[in-house]
Symmetry: C2
Subunit: 386 residues, 2 copies
């Protein structure tokens, strides 16, 4: 059962497209820009390249794109970029609430603040007031590594569980937001530990649901959509493993409206990881409101001594393109003719080797045999013709 | 609760080191050689390079290394290699039982056969007879894509679930093995679907446990150790995601004595993925007999616009070395000084940037500040000195 949460619209003004989070909408995948973005990066060819990359991320399934905004200069640059692209951009702000205020002057679709370091309630209210007037949602982003000092102390003294402190920090902020009548709010509670990540989200989801009068209604206190993710998850393999286990457990329990897979790797790989998690979880825990499984599914064998086709090279070459296709198909890249077509008989399109030839097959039946040098072209034609 | 299974020794003769699978021993990670191996690959410098790579895989945590053996020539080459290294090697044989017989003439530690294609019970018995005389364990490796024809038909006609057919195929073979008094047997049932993989293993684990007289005893019918894995799991990210979810669910339920993460990627990455899964699962499902968490844990941030240190480059450069260290430590690679040392305060050693300097820290306290060009050297020294 997917937990009910309030539906929020993010974007949907100027040239920015609307994205819906919560309220049973499909889970939204997001990622974060990895480098500092200055004005110089947005001019001429450089600016076109940035916009093109964002366009490609969107095609791969990225619904929201976040940027660290460490100072006012970065806010001005992000403001400029936000007017150049249709994907809703999010400003991530720590320490200085005035940067948040400046971001709200631009078509930036959402703000993220960290209650552990943004300062007094008065500063938070200044941001809320302007965001409300502009209709911009805010995410309360709590991190286990930067809890408010009093909660940090309790955790360090062993008087409070880390997961409970995360939920407590988020709830405190929610109280302020509600006193102010600000309802366009999302919450995240991230830890580097898998168990803490799962537990913090479960605690808050239960509390908020109880406050809203049970899972059946949204009543006066709408349940805020939850942004879920594991922080400092590590390099690619460690990060994907840890995120799959943590987000898998939460999504399987109906918790999570938008996800980010944090990796010490590219944004594109974060988006692909998000897709793969959203595709895989319903296989083991189908639940109402699960995001529809969309996009190309790639079936590929690990390759062994029987292979006569370079599956790794082909997969690497074709991955970005396959992940950008808006088609619900399965594509198989198999190493050998002996097992390939049979084991991939459910694939809409497949490719494998047989001696010095390359076979292209559909549902296990070979439809074309070509030389290795024609393989990419032939595969492209058959993909096009599906 | 980790399911009890019979303990098997693999290797432990000639120069081959023993590895123990099942019976509560730590879960063994395995991978598979990705290319055909011929005699030319084993001579002179080429042979030294192959042996060195196998040595590195072992250092990273690989306990068993499998090779496809499609013909007698490949069997002869593998036999030669098996005498060159200490890691137990496994011969993977389809279709022709005579190849299995030939492999048993060499110090090859284990044989894998696929009951779906190895042929009559008489052929299986010929292999069992020789393996028994030599004291070599055998894995019954069932694949959803290559079920025995009658079971395949039942599945295709919708008369039998795929998971049940996998367990049935394994059990049929187990009956033959037992009639023959052959007990050094492991079982795997692999499917490309996560749900089928989980279900097939649960069905067999339950049946075998019941046959052995409940989970408390091993009685006359020892429960065979289970080798678990998802087949055709896909390229790196998809494969790690699917394997983490499937193996995670099984391991959390106490099922699984040896694992392989199949990836359309390198063997090294398969081993790293295995390690990361074995490290992460106990965080959410601690159980008696869980493998000890060993080796370096890498904490690294995804990097954002606040960064002043190339975490990706550093991580990529250091990964193979860190994954080869036999130390139980946490190493943090963080992007910025603002959050880095604080968020990684639990790390034994960490590195991050601050303006144009690089900081090295221990438990959140900076112990050294160097220029970027000295970063690797300084980090190596501190790592050495831990």
């Amino acid at each position: 059962m997917r937990r009910k949460s309030a539906a929020l619209q993010i974007g949907g003004f100027d040239q920015v497209e609307p994205v819906y989070v919560g309220g049973g909408h499909p889970v939204v995948i997001q990622t974060m820009w990895k480098d500092r973005l200055g004005f110089a990066d947005l001019e001429g060819k450089a600016g076109e390249a940035v916009a093109a990359r964002i366009g490609r991320l969107k095609k791969m399934g990225c619904g929201l794109l976040r940027f660290a905004v460490p100072d006012t200069e970065a806010a001005e640059a992000l403001g400029k970029l936000a007017a150049m692209v249709s994907l809703p951009l999010v400003a991530d702000i720590h320490f200085d609430y005035r940067i948040a205020l400046r971001c709200l002057d631009f078509p930036i679709a959402k703000i993220r603040i960290n209650p552990g370091n943004i300062g007094s309630a008065g500063k938070v209210e200044a941001v809320l007031s302007k965001a409300k007037a502009k209709g911009r949602p805010i995410r309360i982003g709590v991190n286990a590594g930067s809890l408010p000092p009093d909660l940090r102390r309790l955790v360090d003294q062993g008087k409070m569980e880390s997961a409970r402190a995360l939920a407590e920090a988020a709830e405190r902020e929610l109280v302020i937001f509600r006193q102010f009548g600000f309802s366009a709010v999302l919450v995240s509670m991230k830890a580097s530990g898998i168990a803490d990540t799962i537990k913090a989200n479960r605690i808050l989801a239960e509390r908020e649901e109880a406050a809203a009068g049970g899972s059946s209604g949204l009543a006066e206190n709408p349940v805020p959509p939850l942004h879920i993710g594991v922080t400092e998850a590590g390099p690619l393999i460690a990060g994907v493993t840890r995120s799959a286990l943590a987000l898998g457990a939460l999504l399987a329990g109906g918790i999570g409206d938008t996800i980010r897979v944090s990796l010490s790797d590219t944004m594109e790989n974060e988006v692909i990881a998000g897709r793969e998690i959203l595709r895989a979880v319903p296989e083991i825990a189908p639940f109402p409101g699960a995001p529809p499984v969309r996009g190309v599914r790639i079936v590929s064998c690990p390759r062994c001594g029987r292979h006569s086709f370079d599956t790794h090279g082909f997969t690497e070459r074709w991955l970005p393109r396959l992940y950008s296709l808006d088609r619900d198909i399965a594509v198989a890249v198999m190493g050998c003719a002996v097992n390939g077509p049979g084991e991939a008989r459910h694939a809409d399109l497949g490719i494998t080797g047989a001696g010095d030839r390359v076979l292209i097959f559909r549902y296990g039946k070979v439809i074309r045999t070509v030389g290795p040098e024609e393989a990419d072209k032939a595969f492209a034609e058959e993909l096009e013709g599906l």
